[in-house]
Amino acid sequence: MFKILKYTFADLIRSRWSYVYLGFYLLLGFVLLFLNNDLSKAIITLMNVIVVLTPMIGTIFGIMYFYSAREFTELLLAQPIKRSHIFLGQYLGIALSLAFSLVIGLGIPFLVYGVAQSAEIWDFGLLLVVGAFLTFIFVALSVNISLRNENKVKGFGYAILVWLFLAVIYDGLFLVSLVMFDDYPLDKFTLVASMFNPIDLSRILILLKLDISALLGYTGALFQSFFGSGLGMIVSLSTLLLWSLIPVGLLIRTARKRDF
């Protein structure tokens, strides 16, 4: 598995898009930190970019890589190596190369700014952890979609739809249902519903850490009152972990059964 991972990573890290992605984060990091004198505002802006952008890039990269590497995957499948190792290796190669761009791209501006010595280091650290989680989750989801759909256009469409649903539509539906069922106790429903969306969960997790109650929103406030900040963070972090493990398990199962 590590052999496949190593070469997938080496291939992707040299692709032009990896540089573009890295450059974007470098630029964003420097601009936000150096042209903004309020550190907590910079973190919130970064959070808003990360929770939308990392899932999108993860989705697009994951689906593109697996479709373009199809013939090569066939060559690998004919080698004396377990199927699950091939797919796990490729998946981790993609996710790690993207996470690498994120961590380096934002890490350099942080270090230059001197965040390492400040109290905000943990907030930044959490930001990167959440970004990495979202990358792993959405790459896994999109790989699942590409394994289940022979047709590239369809697969690409489904993947974008999943991202759009979780990043935008979910919140809308959620708000509508809150308004419509205003008369009922919705606490439990809200708590459960936010667990089913990794993007929401990431946002809540960061806001709990930042302790900015004004920005928590309804779900965040509920989270805080139900679990408290500390337990709330543990619960959301472990749910994110589940969110990244389940699609990977599913991916291995699908890959095992599929014909190539």
Binding site: T8, R14, S15, Q79, K257, F260
Partner: protein, 234 residues
């Protein structure tokens, strides 16, 4: 060497293999022929474990192989389409496959033979289709496997490379290896193959030598024999 018993494979509603059974003795070149969509590639991929059959058994060197992977140490496979990671160089790809198979292999002779020396440090994404096919050939033939499976090996090759490939295939046969080849180029079959397996609508229509097929169809060349079978005259 290979024994296939009652193999059935269906993709959705399409029955691709419908009770295929055959046996291949070690040594020699076996051409798997048939019209487009007759299941040639599917048979090869089933032997390699890439396609799961609904029914049937496959034995390689006396052992059942379905759902196993270790047996692939003894099989080399040349896929139909040669596409590799764009940003790796030819040398890196060769090292990767060597690394995965974890056995001794020396590609220098093959690299020289197919004139790939100058391409070794180029990225795979910048190579032409024919050059990629040559890389594909090097990857397959650099290992010492008793069985080689070649799916349309001539695709995209220029005449010089084609002659070199034919020589290479003959040399491998001299070494006592077994080669399973699918192709649509009948001259290649006539030049090389010791045995033909002819597939039609998911079943084996004929298994035997080129001469036997010509005799059975009362034709003097292979192309006409096959045309006769396909027109339903036999």
């Amino acid at each position: 060497m290979i024994e296939i018993k009652n193999l059935h494979k269906r993709f959705g509603k399409l029955q691709v293999l419908d009770g295929v059974s055959f046996q291949v003795e070690p040594g020699g070149i076996i051409a798997v022929l048939g019209p487009n969509g007759s299941g040639k590639t599917t048979i090869l991929k089933t032997i390699l474990g890439m396609v799961h059959p609904q029914m049937g058994e496959i034995y390689f060197q006396g052992n059942a192989v379905l759902d196993k992977w270790e047996y692939r140490n003894d099989i080399g496979y040349l896929p139909q389409i040669a596409r590799f990671p764009d940003n790796l160089t030819v040398q890196e790809l060769i090292n990767m496959i060597k690394n995965i198979r974890d056995v001794e292999a020396d590609e220098t002779e093959l690299v020289n033979r197919f004139d790939l020396k100058l391409s070794l440090n180029k990225k795979l994404g910048n190579l032409s289709g024919g050059t990629r096919q040559k890389v594909n050939i090097v990857l397959t033939f650099m290992f010492d496997c008793p069985l080689l499976i070649l799916d349309e090996p001539t695709a995209g090759l220029d005449p010089v490379a084609l002659i070199q490939l034919k020589e290479l295939i003959q040399e491998e046969k001299q070494k006592g290896k077994t080669l399973l080849i699918t192709t649509h180029i009948m001259s290649l079959v006539e030049d090389l193959s010791d045995q033909i397996i002819f597939l039609l609508e998911g079943k084996i229509y004929f298994q035997g030598s080129v001469e036997e097929l010509q005799e059975q169809t009362q034709q003097t060349d292979l192309e006409h024999s096959i045309a006769k079978i396909l027109q339903g005259d036999v």
